[in-house]
Amino acid sequence: MTIHNEVTSVSLDEIKTLVSQKALDGETMLLNMGPQHPSTHGVLRLLLELDGETIVSCIPDIGYLHTGIEKTMEDKTYQKAEVVTDRLDYLNTVGNNLAYCLAVEKLVDLDVPIRAQVLRVILAELQRIASHLIWLATQALDLAAQSVFLYCFREREKILDILELVSGQRMMTTYIRPGGLWRDVPVEFESAVRTFLDEFPRRIDQYEDLLTKNPLFVDRTKGIAVISGEEAVRLGMTGPSLRGSGVDYDLRKLNPYSGYEQYEFEVPLGEHGDVFSRYIIRIQEMRESLKIIQQALDKLPYGPVRSNNRKYVPPPRSELGVSMEALIHHFKLWTEGFKAPDEAVYVPVSSPRGELGVFLEGDGGPKVYRAHWRTPSYANLQAIPKLAEGHLIADLVAIIGSLDIVLGDIDR
């Protein structure tokens, strides 16, 4: 019991540079919020300095979900390290796999067939919609709109069904692999995605009917946590949280990867930089994602889904019985793994939360030497002291929700 207190308690002396003089004099109150609090979206802990109900300063305390994923990756070969990337941002598993695989492909200079690239885009955009649905559900729930929560989870389940169809797993898919995909999608895939595309636009309209003009929702989101574009850039924010302030920065447009340059879509931008702008941006992003999926599905070409470079990609199962070389490659790849050069690469992709970047360094051997994840939630959460200043505690709940943080992504 004493050990627990020693670790979690924070003395006033430690944080005296972060609070105002009033807190040291005892005029304002320090209140602990979290880590076990329903509206902190996981295990985020916030120390709040309060003047009445107004927040004077807000000090985030993270690390309650630190599992040493980067250290674990250093112990694994390039193929095996991918499995832990699903566990980082557990609402964007396909996106994490994509970022990691793009980094590995850049490090070892590996090509990806076009069919695999198109399928990657479809799945990444489906995952983006699923992630935004969770965000919408929890944001609405935090602001006491319970029915939206249930509707969003209903639709998200349909996306998870599609992921299960292609990979056998609902969430931790590890379906995208260095050099392509694990295997081709089943024949039912196209009709399943088309069914989803047909019915989902109506669902978005329903969510908007429930929230966009709802005075209870609007009163609690408009004009809350306003941040200007320059300030947001300075604090390192990315993704919808940054675009809500009107800054046009989307890596799908700026540095297209996996063939994003071939699709027509808009990057929605907000005007006011408040919680409501970020809400509108994410709703519109779901509609744009649908457009991308529609275009990708229409042009989905036939062909292989894995690179033919046998030094990095295992051969198809059917060849093992008839080809000695295939057997050797298979054996070498699954016992030793492939070797990557003694160099470092950085690959950023656009995750539902912002710029997700993988810094990957090899040492000439088959194991990852250093992998650093530049995660969007980590960067966005750094802005919360600035955003929360001067607002009421009740608004803080809306602010945390509007940043769309995932603690698995922050603590790693």
Partner: protein, 170 residues
């Protein structure tokens, strides 16, 4: 290479001792740790690298002579140029200058590097542990800290491992 990146590097090379390295489309500049504040200020104010994308460290335990490298990733969004900076930091004096006054979002990244690698940042306003709990000893991302603390038990080494257990008192 990006034209803007080329002019930036040419201008910097006139003033400072830099080592250039290019891999794929990444340009990395390596230089002494004392120069970091000055170079970052120049890059931000004169060359438009206003965003610090990430800041991290790499441990070259047993491979390179200054053991650590602190890696800075800067981004100029208007010109779409990314620049990587590396400053070697030796093991016996793991201190480098903080860039929080130049890029405010370096705050948590530097705390993370201090927490996991034990590299101090001079001039950081609030250098506390960020990931690990307060009384933690050591810096786990260093390469001399093992990933697996316990060896896998097989028939041939079962007894040796068992002897180290706390429950074997007698």
């Amino acid at each position: 290479m990006n034209a803007h990146l080329q002019t930036t590097v040419d201008a910097l090379e006139d003033q400072f001792a830099l080592e250039q390295h290019t891999f794929r489309d990444h340009l990395t500049l390596t230089f002494e740790r004392e120069l970091i504040s000055e170079i970052c200020t120049q890059l931000r104010d004169q060359f438009g690298f206003i965003v610090l994308t990430a800041l991290t460290a790499v441990d070259y335990f047993g491979r390179k002579s200054p053991r650590f490298h602190v890696v800075y990733q800067l981004h100029n969004r208007e010109q779409d140029a990314r620049l990587f900076l590396r400053t070697p930091v030796p093991e016996d004096d793991p201190v480098t200058d903080s860039v929080v006054s130049i890029f405010p979002n370096a705050n948590w990244y530097e705390r993370e590097v201090w927490d996991l690698y034990g590299i101090r940042f001079a001039g950081h306003p609030d250098l506390r542990r960020i990931m690990l709990p307060k009384g933690w000893e050591g810096h786990p991302m260093r390469k001399d800290v093992p990933v697996k603390v316990e060896e896998t038990r097989f028939t041939f080494n079962y007894k040796e491992i068992d002897l180290d257990k706390r429950y074997v008192e007698e």
